[in-house]
Symmetry: C2
Subunit: 114 residues, 2 copies
């Protein structure tokens, strides 16, 4: 399965900048929209809109409600999401392309961290 | 001289998130505001507002005009800035803490790159 979100969910994810160190994605959807499973490397999330979403893995679910203008850390993870609010979701994701310098892998944490 | 912008220009720069890999700053100023010289590591710039600024080094000047909602790459550099527009400047800067993996240093390029 293709886990790059720009390939798995091109209706919602769009690359707005890319170089050797980062790839920056814009995410936009409408209420009721669902993504298929996809992978995020360690990323910084910036919320352009407020939104309410349900994030899922095979064995976890998490409801996330954020205001516009917030910054969160999204650790490396595979998940899928659903817009369970009544507004558009619009975010910017700054993906870090380099592996973690300490060689660790991501702990199994679902969703964005403050 | 202290080149960390949160130390040199704490009236304009505020840390909104930090971990081992990134530091995320919010920048806000008003028309006519000037910063003192400060250092940016390789960073992703997101424009929350539109703005017009003059960026300077000892031997270069650059006028930058950007709309809100833009993403730019700001390569490692020391500069200072002046809000030469008639609106607030408001941006988010995602600073990369790790050195470039290829060991190169920044080319002498002033200002954000698209």
């Amino acid at each position: 399965m293709e886990l790059d979100p720009t390939v798995s969910n091109p209706d919602a994810y769009r690359t707005v900048f890319e170089n050797d160190r980062v790839r920056v994605l814009e995410y936009r959807d409408q209420p009721g929209h669902r993504t298929t499973p996809h992978h995020h490397p360690d990323s910084v999330l910036y919320t352009v809109s407020s939104f309410r979403r349900r994030l899922s893995t095979d064995d976890q679910q998490l409801e996330v409600e954020l205001d516009a203008g917030q910054v969160r850390w999204l650790p490396d993870q595979v998940h899928w999401g659903e817009n369970i609010g009544d507004t558009e979701t619009r975010t910017i994701l700054v993906e870090l392309k380099e592996p973690r310098p300490d060689g660790t892998t991501a702990p199994p944490v679902l969703g964005p961290l403050s």
